[in-house]
């Protein structure tokens, strides 16, 4: 915000500063707590700045849990899920936005309604199916069952509808079938929306906890959110170690966001969506 705008809208500026502070607060707390001593963590009233910066909290994380393995699993699973989900969602969104086919409205309503079903309701029947298919403790089980495409399909659909039909007709005249129209016209013109949908999908999969916990028993198959839970114990949690692990865990999310920030903001403007 420029100086001119700040002086013209003082209340808006103040509101934005307060909102930003509220958003930054938990991150700042996590960052500082990752370097605290146990005494600093339990200090009351809370102490912002650590009495001495304790870098060994990070080493403790690697001693207590197989952090690298959890990290690698999380990255692999989240990336594959995001790619698959966006691919399936984009194809679905294209069909709903630009094609006519029998039962289209009913299928669309069915897909939309799936958004209203909480995860905890579907988790046991889903696990039953996965167990029958022999997917317990497999990457396939981890990945496939969590491809929740409805939200990203709707997000992409609203964008695909803005692509002029004339472009599609022109491609058809040039001899393109539906799949080539999708590949050559729809996808190249929807980079912003696909970037946003990817970010939403990646964030959802990166922080997923319940399904990976249910579908895996082998510690080698587990992902980072479960790994962080290993650090929360019944007899008391070492918050400084947990915060160090959490700080390392959010790095990929920050990297993804840094690369896609522009698309993310643009798409919010275009689709009116918020996280």
């Amino acid at each position: 915000m420029s100086k001119h705008l700040r002086s013209r809208y003082p209340f808006t500026t103040l509101f934005l500063f307060i909102s930003a502070a509220l958003m930054i607060f938990p991150f700042a707390w996590m960052l500082l707590s990752a370097f605290k001593t146990p005494a600093d963590v339990y200090n009351y009233p809370p102490k912002w700045i650590p009495s001495s910066f304790k870098f060994t909290n990070f080493a403790e994380v690697f001693k207590k849990i197989p952090f690298i393995r959890f990290y690698a699993n999380s990255i692999f699973v989240s990336v594959v899920q995001t790619v698959l989900q966006i691919w399936i969602s984009a194809m679905g969104a294209f069909a709903f936005a630009k094609l006519d086919f029998p039962l289209k409205k009913k299928l669309f309503a069915f897909m939309q309604s799936s958004l209203f079903v909480p995860e905890i309701v579907t988790i046991i029947p889903l696990f039953l199916l996965a167990a029958i298919a022999g997917l317990v403790d497999t990457y396939t089980g981890l990945i496939v069952a969590e491809l929740n495409c409805a939200f990203t399909t709707l997000l992409l659909l609203s964008f695909f509808q803005t692509i002029p039909n004339e472009l599609i007709d022109a491609a058809k005249v040039d001899g393109c079938g539906y799949f080539r129209v999708f590949l050559k016209v729809i996808l190249p013109n929807s980079k912003t929306a696909i970037g946003t949908a990817s970010l939403f999908a990646f964030l959802t999969h990166w922080r997923s906890y319940m399904w990976p916990l249910i579908i895996t028993n082998d510690v080698k198959m587990r992902t980072l959110p479960i790994g962080l839970k290993y650090l929360v114990t019944e007899t008391g949690t070492e918050y400084q170690v947990l915060m160090a692990a959490s700080l390392m865990a959010i790095v990929p999310v920050l990297v993804v966001y840094m690369f896609m920030e522009k698309e993310f903001v643009q798409s919010i403007t275009l689709t009116g969506l918020k996280t």
Binding site: L128, A131, E234
Partner: protein, 409 residues
Amino acid sequence: MICVAMLALVAVAIPVGAQTKLKVWFAVSGDSGEAFKALLEKYKATNPDVALEYSYSGNYGDTATKVSAALISNTAPDVALMAAGPLYTGARNDYFIETKLNDADLNKDDIYPGVWDYAKYNGRICAVPYGISTPVLYYNKAILEKAGIDLKNPPKTWTEFLQIAKTAQAKGNVSGTPDFWGFDATDVAWLFKTMLYQNENTVISVKGTKISPAFNDEKGVEVADFWKKLTDEKVMPVGQHSNAEKKFLAGNLAFLVATSARIARWSKDPSLQIGAIPMPYFKRPSVALGGNVLVILSKDQKTKEAAWKLVKFLASKENQTTFALKTGYLPIRKSGLNLPEAKEAVTSNPMYAIAFDQLDTSWSYWHFEQMGTMDQLLAQAIDALERNVLTPKATLDKAANELQAEIDG
């Protein structure tokens, strides 16, 4: 050396196909998880005929969901260390453990009777108690020293305790903070249930197999009246119990009721000057039990037998006491307290003696499906009581009616 060589030979001699496969899930992590894993590894090393697979299954709530899903799909573990275990055995009419209680290796009578109640469903044992804890009344030594309070003769009743907590609050503010309190508890429902039983209220009543709330009778209301007194006289803060532990460790709270599982952890930190006294009571001394149990979920008889062998090993005097002392849970066997390591723990840390002695008067109600809901309703009732939203009688009646509706389905 010879033993190790023989074991290695036996291990080589047993083909993988002849091994009994046992899957174990456990709902404890951190030091507790490591201590449990060490015992499983010990079993693995001495039992080459068993192929043991084990994994952490998340906290108590997560493990409950995971076990529920696994039971439906026939992928349940053979042994699980979890909270509310009887709801996954007895409630499914699986009383295999009950048939094994006379096994001489188990030595059932060596385990505290109150602790066995924690492993029952419909009055029948269907689990083996394991990581058991009780509420303990801790105090901050520096605060009490400043207030001139000597706890050589600790208060016996809650009324006596209230006076001491008031004095500690008035004279012991070592940190000089305005947010300084005499008493608080981390788990209000747990302490409230302890107080109810101390006042000769059974929390729930059981007629045959029918369970109904009993915490709202006259004796229950007396307890609620005392609880209100704690907040009305500003010895305990209103509705800030989730911060109680933090305040206590920061030196802003004189007395705290928290789980006995904190003893091992807090004792490791030399900067914490903390002691414990026996829990005060109303009419009779008592503490409510909490923690986890071992359950056997296998389906076929052969695996059940192998699982039982493992459970006996884990619950043996030496192994359960080792687990208890490493984690802060309590030894469940009377003989466990005579082991040199338990005696050493009591000598070097008197807080252990307080927690261990409380086991003599510990109690538990049988498990029932709505027990989690009951704890939530009690916590809400206490909150309404502290905030003067409802009278003690009205708030307990409301909780009891809601619980009854939940039980009736």
